[in-house]
């Protein structure tokens, strides 16, 4: 298969970037999108040109490192799935494919398609953890978790922190990410002691990073590779309102 690529090239954060056209020829339909980029890069290197910089790690959809906006969709056309799980057979032969980075102010561009998503880590650092005594694992039945609650916590914990929610959101809001991280611990007994302070701190951190605000378009859940439901944002709103009331009451 042959494709015409239009790839965002930007030397460094300060230089102005632009879309540059490349030809991707003799591409196997069974290559992943990232493997196709690898082939394009090998040919660029052979010609003595600078290869296209992009993020990837596990290449099996579980790490959340790849961060491409392919033809205007975060992670490309194959939802749910990360960009590394998109195969070239998904595109029409000789199609033009536009490749851009995840765009949001809190995701500063480093080079080409690589952005710094440290903002998401800092939201988690603000409260997305539990304070537990370290040491050997406790006896399994010492803290009982109903199956139903465990399932709901697991659904939220599936978030791989890729940032596609913020990239796809018309407002560059990271509420789906924050909602997943807050809900995951709020569903579990281990998360209860810090439940009130956690949501307040994480939402404050999210706002301080400069993400936009949710307008309930649900574009985030459409691109989420972990299929996190936007109904968790309703849970986040609920948790935040209750936590604010509790803080008002001095609890």
């Amino acid at each position: 298969m042959n494709f015409k690529l239009k790839v965002w090239r930007q030397k460094d954060p300060k230089t102005k970037g632009k879309l540059v056209a490349y030809e991707a020829t003799d591409v196997s339909p069974n290559m992943s999108f990232l493997e196709m980029l690898d082939v394009v890069n090998e040919r660029l290197v052979a010609r003595g040109e600078e290869p296209i910089a992009f993020d990837s790690d596990c290449r099996e959809g579980i790490c959340g490192t790849c961060s491409l906006t392919i033809n205007g969709e975060a992670h490309g056309p194959d939802h749910p799935g990360a960009a590394c799980e998109v195969y070239m057979r998904r595109f029409k032969d000789s199609a033009t494919i536009v490749v851009e980075p995840f765009r949001a102010k809190p995701f500063p561009l480093i080079k080409d398609l690589v952005v710094d998503r440290g903002a998401l880590d800092r939201i988690v650092q603000a409260g997305g953890f539990i304070s537990a005594r370290a040491g050997s694992a406790p006896e399994a039945n010492s803290t009982l978790v109903p199956k139903h609650e465990a399932d709901r916590a697991m659904e939220a914990a599936a978030c791989i922190g890729c940032g596609a929610c913020a990239a796809a959101c018309p407002n560059a809001s990271a509420m789906l990410f924050t909602a997943a991280k807050v809900s995951h611990l709020a569903f579990l007994p281990q998360g209860q002691p810090e439940r009130t302070s956690r949501v307040l701190k994480m939402v404050t951190a999210m706002d301080a990073e400069g993400f936009g605000n949710c307008t309930n378009t649900y574009e985030c859940e459409a691109v989420c590779p972990a299929q996190i439901s936007a109904s968790l944002i309703a849970k986040l709103n609920r948790e935040y309102a209750i936590a604010s009331l509790r803080r008002n009451a001095g609890e």
């Binding site: 239009k6 969709e73 796809a168 407002n171 701190k201 404050t204 951190a205 459409a222 691109v223 948790e239």
Partner: protein, 254 residues
């Protein structure tokens, strides 16, 4: 992902620093937060939706005859000071709704300084993406509508209308004469179309913003919200349409 400790020290998180905030500060920090602002927009939106429903029920009495509409208008006038309290309450809601929406919209713009060259939307509806646009046009319509029927400055004929047999304002004839103008009716129908568009997203959206939603309810509320919005549209536009088709005629001749 990369270099996660890069600028932690440069950012200050108020909640992390001052956990034991005084109640006033805690409330103001709620109102300044992304979720707090959404809450206010949603809560004021609910009030405005209730007004839209109530106003429609009042207007639809035109199909029951002049006695009903004129009597209804007279009842509202008899409320006296209470009417002004209600008007002030609605005005405060409108102002809060607009102020916080604009504040959110400005933040949203700033959150993506470099836009995509190509952007596709998969799930976001037209209505959900153009809420500010539909809202501002509805606001322009409301201002005209108030000048037209409440302050009565746009149509000199309204001053010629005599009181009805029970010595009440002849609101019925005022509505009929007002809507007989094709441009007035046209702008009215356009205003109602944008209101319906606004409500087709807003009616289900407030459940989400107020945290009253869950996975099962979301799709049902989305459908119900759309049905509600277009019923409102049909209800309101039925009046100018009926007037233009001469199905409703004025109670007095000018």
């Amino acid at each position: 992902m990369l270099d996660s400790t890069r600028s932690t020290s440069n950012l200050s998180y108020p909640a992390a620093e001052g956990w034991n905030l005084k109640p006033v500060t805690a409330f103001s920090s709620f109102c300044r937060s992304s979720i707090g602002k959404k809450f206010i927009v949603a809560a004021t939106g609910v009030v405005l939706i209730l007004f839209v429903v109530g106003h429609l029920l009042g207007n639809l009495q035109i199909f029951l005859g002049p006695d009903w509409v004129n009597g209804y208008a007279e009842h509202l006038r008899e409320l006296g000071p209470l009417l002004w309290v209600i008007r002030a309450f609605l005005l405060v809601n409108v102002l809060l709704h607009i102020y916080f929406t604009i504040s959110l919209a400005i933040e949203n713009r700033r959150a993506r300084p470099v836009s995509y060259k190509k952007k596709d939307y998969i799930k976001a509806t037209f209505a959900s993406r153009y809420m500010a646009m539909s809202g501002l046009i509805v606001l322009a319509f409301i201002l005209y509508h108030l000048a037209h029927f409440t302050v009565r400055v746009t149509d000199p004929r309204f001053l010629l209308l005599k009181a009805d047999p029970l010595n009440r304002y002849d609101v019925y004839s005022m509505m009929v004469y007002g809507f007989q103008n094709i441009f007035v009716s046209g702008f009215y129908i356009l205003g109602m179309f944008l209101l319906a568009l606004h409500l087709s997203h807003g009616t289900s959206s407030f459940f989400q913003s107020l945290g009253l939603n869950d996975k099962k309810l979301t799709p049902r509320l989305a459908t119900a919200g759309r049905v509600f919005a277009w019923l409102i549209f049909i209800g309101y536009t039925s009046i100018p349409v009926a007037v233009l088709l001469h199905l409703v005629k004025p109670a007095q001749q000018l």
